[in-house]
């Protein structure tokens, strides 16, 4: 029996079931996470397929159909300029998701690098880097983002960078904390005692163990990034062209007419909050599935 199992095992491709494979399997058994995943999937598909499924162009005016409530032709009604709200929300998803994802990736890259270096090496590097981070953390996020957009001028890339800059200090703190704790952990000492190199310790023993909170935090940060982007748009710091279908900008335009056309606020606000909830649910699910100790 031993011989056959050995043969069978050796024939098996390795990494058929690794950390990530296991995590994915656990995630698929997590109800709320699946709902979150479904919500995100719907938004992503809607954003990608917006040009195909949207009944109207985002800037297209439908004659004199100003402030029409939801109907069969206009699923979510029309706005002041007789544009189809449903179509605009679909196109708006493109901007919100793109800016959200890119800014969080940028934030993780910037903050994570700083935090990992500070936590892994400690000492002076830690002191200098983390004090800088503390300064950034002291400024309220949205204020920092506004400042950066005003400084760098309006534009999608600037918005991405601004949102990334508000998130980066948080990622730096999280990763530094985990790395610091891991540096003294028994298994890192044990790995060192067996001759593992610094690079190996950092990348293979410490980073994967420190990654879980970062993945969770970044999924949750996606939710706030979408809200931040909308917030910047709401404050008039959205894309340079005010006609662009962007959720935050749309919301600003709609607030002036909330009595004539409450559905615009309702649907736009729903798009923002539901997508944020989707990322939150997924984030919580990921946290549970990425911890092998919580295996069920």
């Amino acid at each position: 029996m031993a011989a056959t199992t050995t043969a069978a095992n050796l024939a098996q491709p390795r990494a058929s079931r690794g950390l990530w494979g296991d995590a994915a399997r656990r995630l698929l058994r997590n109800g709320p996470a699946l709902i979150g995943l479904a919500i995100i999937a719907i938004f992503v598909i809607a954003a990608i397929l917006a040009p195909v499924i949207a009944p109207f162009e985002p800037l297209q005016r439908d004659g004199s159909q100003v402030f029409k409530p939801p109907s069969a032709t206009h699923l979510m009604g029309t706005d002041r300029q007789a544009r189809d709200v449903f179509s605009r929300i679909l196109f708006g998803a493109q901007i919100s998701l793109l800016v959200g994802v890119v800014s969080v990736i940028m934030g993780v890259a910037m903050g994570g690098t700083v935090g990992a270096i500070a936590g892994a090496f400690g000492g002076k590097a830690d002191a200098v880097l983390m004090r800088t981070v503390d300064v950034l953390l002291a400024i309220p996020g949205i204020l920092l983002a506004i400042g950066i957009v005003v400084w760098l001028d309006r534009g999608l890339v600037q918005i991405m960078f601004a949102v990334a800059a508000t998130n980066a200090p948080i990622f730096a703190r999280i990763l530094r904390g985990s790395m610091l704790a891991l540096r003294e952990s028994d298994y890192v000492t044990a790995a060192r005692s067996m001759g593992a190199s610094t690079g190996r310790l950092l990348l293979r023993h410490m980073l994967p163990n420190a990654l879980t909170p970062i993945i969770v935090a970044s999924t949750l940060a996606l939710a706030t990034a979408i809200i931040d982007v909308a917030g910047l748009g709401f404050l008039g710091l959205g894309p340079p062209d005010p006609r662009t279908a962007e959720w935050g900008t749309m919301l600003t335009g709609a607030t002036s007419f909330y009595r004539q056309a409450p559905w615009i606020i309702f649907f736009t606000g729903a798009a923002i909050s539901v997508s944020a909830i989707g990322f939150n649910l997924l984030g919580d699910g990921l946290r549970e599935s990425l911890d092998p100790r919580l295996k069920r």
Binding site: T5, Y187, A196, R204, H205, N209
Partner: protein
């Protein structure tokens, strides 16, 4: 030449304004294939000694501030991190106390074993994997080829310690340091793991340093024992010699604080009173003096060096003929060592300096029972800085408590 020679090793931890004197000049040698027990209570420096040898002291607080660790002709203290890394795992391997936390939770056993093998040997993944299976079989893990894919949390504590032993033996090191390898395990598993460790190191002729606070563990496992106290080696001997005739009061105390099954009548356990000294203070005198029943005045001020028992021409530091050495000004006699307390008539452990001893001898108006009483007075002025001060050892001498003069 000895495989390992630790020479006058000094380790200190410097943290915010305080210095912890963790290891204060420890020397010992180990021959190839020899087994040595490092015994002592928590905080006596046994683990720190081994971490210092491996260059694994927590940075930046812990530092080797003196001495050498010669391994196979190389001084591990001054060796570069790069060279040291090559020695770790390949020449010297270590097993830690808690198998539950010593394995990386997010890597499979296979990844951790293969990684260790490949860190030192240029070999293919498949070969390393075969070696891992071989090692797991050796340490008695059933169906190793299946278990390789498991994560640490899927193993029990005893099994994890077996995996740790397998990893430690992967590169056939010449020295294995086992730091309390069975403390975190159940008693039934302890024996199995110790037996395994003993068998495998004997088979491969690996020298073993077994760190433990349990004299029972070293009794059957090691050829020699170093007894450590507060960062000093206070007694070193072959296991047989040490159990037969301990010379240091601390060793005597240790032996009398564990129950023995071979006694006809259950003997009384004699606990060692007090706690180890505060190692944030520079050691003055014999570190064990405050807790010792045999202490003399000199013990408070002079730390005795390790001296051989009897008149020995040449001191042997390794092997079965190793010279029995101890560090004590006033060693217990054989009878006292057997009894666990001083038996000399009228012997009183010396009071700490800074106290005035008044002997009420020859005073006719004193009741006979009080004639030999010793009255201790604390000096109003604080004693010399750094000297441990005994808690008030008794009353003022005018009561009739005759037990006052008894050694504490």
């Amino acid at each position: 030449m000895a495989l390992l020679a630790v020479e006058d090793l000094v380790v200190r931890f410097r943290t915010h304004g305080s210095v912890v004197h963790a290891v204060n000049g420890v020397s010992f040698e180990l021959a190839a294939g020899e087994t040595l027990g490092l015994v002592g209570e928590s905080g006596c420096g046994k683990s720190v000694t081994s971490l210092a040898m491996m260059g694994l002291l927590p940075k930046p607080a812990g530092r080797v501030e003196g001495g050498r660790v010669m391994f196979d002709g190389l001084d591990l203290v001054t060796l570069s991190e790069r060279d040291l890394r090559d020695i770790r795992g390949r020449e010297i391997a270590m097993i830690f106390q808690d198998p539950m936390t010593s394995l990386n939770p997010v890597l499979t056993i296979e990844e951790q074993m293969v990684e260790t093998i490949q860190a030192h040997k240029k070999t293919t993944h498949d070969d390393a994997r075969k070696r891992a299976i071989e090692l797991l079989t050796m340490v008695g893990i059933p169906r190793p080829e299946n278990r390789l894919k498991s994560y640490p949390h899927e193993f029990s504590g005893g099994m994890r310690q077996r995996v740790m032993i397998a990893i430690a033996l992967a590169l056939e090191p010449r020295l294995m340091i086992a730091d309390e390898p069975t403390t975190a395990l159940d008693v039934t598993i302890q024996a199995q793991v110790l037996e395994l460790l003993s068998r495998l190191t004997t088979d491969s002729d690996t020298a073993l340093i077994l760190i433990t606070h349990d004299l029972g563990v070293v009794a059957g496992m090691t050829q020699r024992i170093n007894v450590m106290y507060a960062g000093f080696v206070v007694e070193t001997a072959t296991t047989v010699d040490l159990f037969e005739r301990p010379w240091h009061p601390y060793t005597v105390g240790l032996l009398h604080s564990i129950p023995r099954l071979d006694e006809e009548r259950p003997e009384q356990l004699i606990p060692i009173e007090g706690v180890p000294p505060d190692q944030r203070r520079e050691p003055v005198g014999c570190p064990f003096a405050p807790r010792c029943a045999w202490r003399l005045d000199v013990c408070w001020t002079d730390n005795p060096p390790l001296t051989p028992v009897g008149l020995v021409g040449r001191v042997t530091t390794t092997g079965s003929g190793a010279t029995h050495r101890f560090a004590c000004h006033n060693p217990p006699t054989a009878e006292e060592a057997a009894a666990g307390r001083p038996l000399r008539d009228g012997f009183v452990a010396a009071a700490p300096p800074g106290t005035v001893i008044e002997r009420l001898v020859g005073a006719d108006d004193v009741a006979p029972a009080a004639a030999e009483e010793v009255a201790l007075f604390e000096m109003p002025e604080p004693g010399a800085k750094g000297l441990p001060v005994e808690p008030d050892a008794g009353g003022t001498g005018d009561d009739d408590d005759a037990s006052q003069g008894r050694p504490t």
